[in-house]
């Protein structure tokens, strides 16, 4: 069952979850603070928490090739919500989880969605998690998103996280923490673009606790106009493990970026690497595309689109 959504809500769903119709598999669509539709499957059960503060998503051990969609859309100006969603992923499961939040604020009051996602990833399970954030609307009220993500990974589990925030979110404070047991592997690909007066902070703390665990946290970002970004990624090597973090950023106009890569090796066999580069678009890149017939502005757009692809 799905409640009727208006055109703006449908557009937001397309932006954050590529949803053009009711998704197959398990899903929950949250619209303006209420569930607009929910479905469980034989292997994936979505139930509201007893106190109404969010959802429990239970994925049975061995579930393969299934997906969970839990998008959130907000179109009511002035709405503020805090939601806790807990994912319990059984051993050997292999699933895709698509989250994401779209806010359309046409009013004068701030709209804010703070989503706390906790993932308990069972042994040998494999998860791909996609989270897109998007804002639109002409109101003076801010569109605020503060996602908190906690990941607890058991032995030999794999989690690939794709976090995207390209447009329209005025203020975001994103924190991601992860605890990895032996052989667990975490891959994070973050893409971020801020414009206008926007502000985005993204922090990671990854504890590599088990032998043979690995983490690869890579952020690509563009800060335009007067926007500000902070990327703070800390990897702690507490065992024989490997970790890599990279922040690659383009600044334009009066944009500002602070990159704070942090490594802490607490074990002699921890191999940790960080890379960070911030710079404007290289003049040669623009000139090359201009010699192919693009205007300066078209060249910039192509370079940024490619960079954030």
């Amino acid at each position: 069952m799905i409640r009727q959504l208006d055109e703006i809500q449908k557009r937001l769903l397309r932006e954050v979850a590529d949803l053009h119709k009711v998704p197959e598999g398990a899903f929950n669509i949250r619209s303006n603070g209420e569930s607009a539709g929910r479905a469980s499957t034989a292997n994936i059960e979505i139930t509201p928490k007893e106190n109404g503060s969010g959802l429990d998503i239970r994925i049975k051990p061995g579930t393969k090739n299934e997906s969970v969609h839990i998008p959130v859309v907000m179109t009511q100006s002035g709405l503020t919500e805090l939601v806790y969603n807990d994912f319990f992923i059984g051993e050997d499961a292999d699933v895709i989880i698509v989250a994401g939040c779209g806010i359309d604020n046409c009013g004068p009051k701030d709209s804010e969605h703070d989503g706390i996602h906790r993932f308990y990833v069972g042994k040998n399970a494999k998860i791909k998690y996609v989270e897109k954030h998007y804002g639109s609307g002409t109101g003076t009220g801010k569109r605020i998103l503060n996602p908190g993500t906690e990941v607890y990974m058991e032995e030999n589990s794999t989690m690939e996280m794709e976090m995207v925030q390209i447009k329209g979110v005025d203020d975001t404070d994103r924190t991601t923490t992860a605890e990895l047991a032996a052989g667990a592997k975490l891959v994070v690909r973050e893409r971020l673009m801020t414009h206008g007066q926007q502000r985005a902070i993204s922090s990671y703390v990854v504890n590599l606790n088990g032998e043979g665990s690995s983490a690869d946290v890579v952020s690509r970002s563009v800060a335009r106009d007067d926007s500000y970004q902070k990327f703070d990624a800390k990897l702690l090597g507490n065992a024989a493990c490997s970790g890599h973090t990279e922040c690659d950023s383009i600044i334009m106009d009066h944009g500002r970026i602070l990159a704070v890569p942090g490594l802490e090796a607490n074990n002699v066999d921890a191999a940790l690497v960080h890379e960070a580069a911030i710079g404007k678009i290289a003049g040669d890149q623009i000139i090359k595309l201009m010699t192919l017939g693009l205007t300066e502005q078209e060249a910039e757009e192509q370079i940024i689109n490619g960079f954030l692809k």
Partner: protein, 259 residues
């Protein structure tokens, strides 16, 4: 047809004005392959950049098919039919080879169409079409992709700035074949190559020797080539550069750090 009419260009070097190009007049006719050669620091690359619009002359006029393009932007010149292959091809994080070829053609061409251009420069299209044009590509691979973008653009004047620079001998053999093929299908267009290589000079219709910002010699290949053998203006395919010669832009590593 391209005409340079009394072109001069200078740069400010430690407060001193240094002439790079001095009062040069030159015509690149249609249906011709012209090679500009000469010692390093003689002004060859600057001349190519002036034609593409990357630099603007301090005096003189540039006419392309009869239109004065002296004050035109790089973009407008490209749209009029001038193509320019960089001496040091630019790397782009995220942009794929397919994206670059599509931008060059100005159309959303199919993958199969794009692959034709890669095959033409001796690259196995399947292995490269999805690759990012980033630091994972070797100098030779980048150079061939750069040339593929020029083929894809299909210009009436294609300029190549030292296409042999930075590539290995194996790639160079292939490069010669690419230019020989271009030479065969030159009808209605012209090619301008800046090069020191004997094998490239060998396929020229005309050779221009640029030294100290001036044209030192100019004429049909048969006339000019014999006078160049053994000089620093030219080197055989596996020869070494003159150690005493001033360094080119490539060697001095000019350019911004790529984000």
């Amino acid at each position: 047809m391209l005409e340079l009419d009394r072109i001069s260009f200078s740069v400010d070097e430690d407060g001193q004005e240094k002439d790079i190009i001095e009062d040069i007049s030159l015509t690149i006719p249609d249906n011709k392959l012209v090679v500009i050669t000469g010692p390093n620091g003689g002004g060859k690359s600057t001349m190519a950049r002036l034609i593409a619009g990357i630099e603007k002359p301090i005096s003189g006029r540039i006419l392309f098919n009869g239109t004065d393009i002296t004050q035109m932007s790089i973009t407008d010149r490209a749209k009029m039919g001038i193509g320019f292959a960089f001496q040091q091809p630019v790397r782009f994080k995220g942009l794929q080879v397919l994206d670059l070829i599509r931008l060059a053609t100005g159309r959303q061409i199919t993958v199969a169409e794009a692959c034709k251009y890669l095959s033409a420069v001796g690259l196995c299209a399947r292995d490269y079409i999805d690759r990012e044009v980033n630091a994972s590509l070797s100098g030779g691979e980048l150079k061939r992709i750069e040339i593929a973008t020029i083929l894809a653009k299909g210009s009436s004047l294609s300029i190549f700035d030292e296409p042999e620079a930075g590539i290995d001998l194996w790639s160079f053999q292939n490069l010669i074949e690419v230019f020989e093929n271009m030479r065969r299908s030159i009808r209605g267009s012209s090619i301008l190559i800046i090069s020191h290589q004997e094998r490239i000079l060998n396929i020229a219709d005309e050779i221009v020797v640029l030294r100290d910002g001036k044209i030192a010699a100019q004429g049909p290949r048969e006339e000019i080539l014999p006078t160049l053998i053994g000089t620093t203006s030219m080197m055989p395919a596996c020869g070494k550069a003159d150690p005493g010669a001033p360094k080119s832009e490539t060697e001095t590593g000019k350019g911004e750090q790529q984000a």
